[in-house]
């Protein structure tokens, strides 16, 4: 099953490789991993999307918790949370009909065109992974020049929070 695990880790050199190294050394899957510092400069926030049986997921969270650099960790999957991913897509935009079609499609998905040339559009889109997939599918593969995805990040709904 797919799980979304959120971590607070010490913002120190090597912390990221400890975590990615744990996944490769123990043969766990990593679908995506995002990381950036928080409002507290000594902490980084990481969101990992992984999958595995309940037993594997239990081991993943225990092994992550065991790392000295991991300050706090929560598996969001069981709870109520918001998940978003960001994507940039560069697409071919040649001629009036194609350009307006791309624009129309982007409006439907509430995407924004953030850069324009005579022959291309660059589009920014935020949403769940499924939504991003759907957008690319709708765009037709042959028109897509380049895709950049951030990987998912998550936050708990309501007044609950992953803080120290």
């Amino acid at each position: 099953m797919r799980h979304i695990v959120s971590l607070l880790v010490e913002n120190e050199a090597g912390a990221l490789s400890r975590i990615s190294g744990l996944f490769s050394a123990r043969g766990y899957n990593i679908e995506s991993l995002t990381v950036a510092t928080t409002e507290d400069q000594t902490l980084s926030r990481m969101t990992i999307i992984t999958n595995g049986s309940d037993r594997i997921i239990e081991q993943i969270t225990k092994q992550l918790n065991k790392l000295v650099d991991v300050v706090k960790l929560q598996d969001f999957t069981e709870g109520n949370f918001i998940e978003r991913e960001m994507m940039f897509v560069k697409v071919k935009a040649l001629g009036e009909s194609q350009r307006s079609e791309v624009k129309r499609l982007s409006d439907i998905f509430r995407a924004r065109i953030i850069d324009v040339t005579d022959t291309t559009f660059c589009i920014e889109l935020t949403g769940s992974g499924n939504k991003l997939d759907a957008y690319i599918k709708a765009m037709h593969e042959s028109n897509v020049i380049e895709v950049v995805r951030s990987g998912a990040m998550g936050i708990l709904r309501g007044d609950k929070a992953l803080t120290i």
């Binding site: 880790v9 090597g14 490789s17 918790n65 065991k66």
Partner: protein, 582 residues
Amino acid sequence: MELSGSEIIIQFLKDEGVEFLFGYPGGAVLHIYDALHKQGDVKHILVRHEQGATHAADGYARATGKPGVCLVTSGPGATNAITGIATAYMDSIPLVVITGQVPSHAIGNDAFQEVDAVGISRPCVKHNFLVKDLNKLASTLKKAFFIATTGRPGPVVVDIPKDITAPHIKIPYEYPKQISIRSYNPNVKGHPRQIKRAVELLLSARRPMIYAGGGVIMAEASKELRKFVRHLGYPITQTLMGLGAFPGTDPQFIGMLGMHGTYEANMAMHDCDVLIAIGARFDDRITGVNSKFCPYAKIIHIDIDPASISKTINADIPIVGGAKQVLTEMIKIIGKSKPTDSAAIKTWWKKIKSWQDQKSFAYETKKGLIQPQAAIEELYKVTAGDAYITSDVGQHQMFAAQFYPFDEPRRWINSGGLGTMGFGLPAAMGVKLAFPDKDVACVTGEGSIQMCIQELSTCLQYDIPVKIINLNNRYLGMVRQWQEFFYEKRYSHVYMDSLPDFVKLAEAYGHVGIQVENPDDLHDAMKEAFALKDRTVFLDIITDREANVYPMISSGKAHNEMDLSPLQQKVQASLKANGETA
């Protein structure tokens, strides 16, 4: 007090109470070695190879319970130390390894003797540090010792660039007595409700089994374990790492379990209805096939490392906590209560006795040939069971574990998890340095001993008189045994041709060498070796070449599907013929 980085390191080690520093100098640690030269408190032991330094520190740590400390240079110094670091990691041994690093400005430039020590050691350390700021040197060292010795212990590497140790840059130093790490707070106190549930289950057991591991020794919980086991009157088995936690000669101890454990311990594991694991991690050499492991048992698992619980075998009652604290709590709750079904326990013991009657360690003697088992029995006799025994890895290791019962913890020093050949001799040095008045013997084979034989030189330099008990069968015995059983005796590259003359070799290193080939001479040779109190003695025992370790659980088999020795199969057949079933 204003000190340079190098002086801080040495002063810190002194303040931390470090007696011995096992090391090897080199370019990146020259400043530290200069500071070391100017003091007399921390005793440096110059090994002959960095692997020897880590194993020696490891042996010291296992025997004393204190952290072992190493100092090695950058690049090859660090990489040579990796095997020893990984060995300590697998067995949860507290080690602090200081590695020199090229100067900060040169890091990443493929400088001479540069290796990413933090990166290369990451998968086999509990934690590691690269010191980038002289002002954080002392606190980082304190963190390293704190992390290495608390919770589930393990090795910590501190990588220190050369410029941090420069003699002319001095800063104020104060020993950091306390340190706290917000992300590291190991829990030692078990959950009270879980402990209560576990006690209830234990007391209601009809076929109970206690399975104790190295965690009991790490936690200094032998006393509590003994009290606990004796009060309940239940059978106890121990892992290779746990031997000595409970006395090996006590009738309640039914032998080591696992691949080369006793018949009775493994049969009891298979048939038990309640299993309590204390500081043991259900290693694959213990469990065999997970799906066939303890099929009738409810399992209680006490471990300080949450990740060890339900990792391979699901625990019905998991208890995260230190063995000492949890056992103390359990003893308190049990109070004067006794097992509820004493008749069932009696029947259980009867069953176990019938398994014990099989004498699964019985071995055949052959005229004119020394059996390796007999050599260990002789070692036990001559040392009155009171020696510190280190071992290398292979058949000799199993024979030592089987035939030298340990009555005290920290007496049996071996590489259980990683199975590192070459561990025994340097580990014995570490033990002997810690306990100069005790007999320390390294049980080894002609294969293993050659992996760290250079340390014989260190033994002479620092006057560390250990006894080397070399079970010499001219084969890499354990590999040969597997080739005999599973590869139709195709002995692929396991014959040690052109072996050195170990007697002459020992003499060349300045020690005493004794070779013994005849069983009749074994006792006198062993006596002579230990009578030479202040000499390192290499006792080269020529043993039966094709002796095998029995009993054995082959891969894919369950605990009740052990392979017995040919001799024991005969015993079993005759028992059956007499109508006694096991």
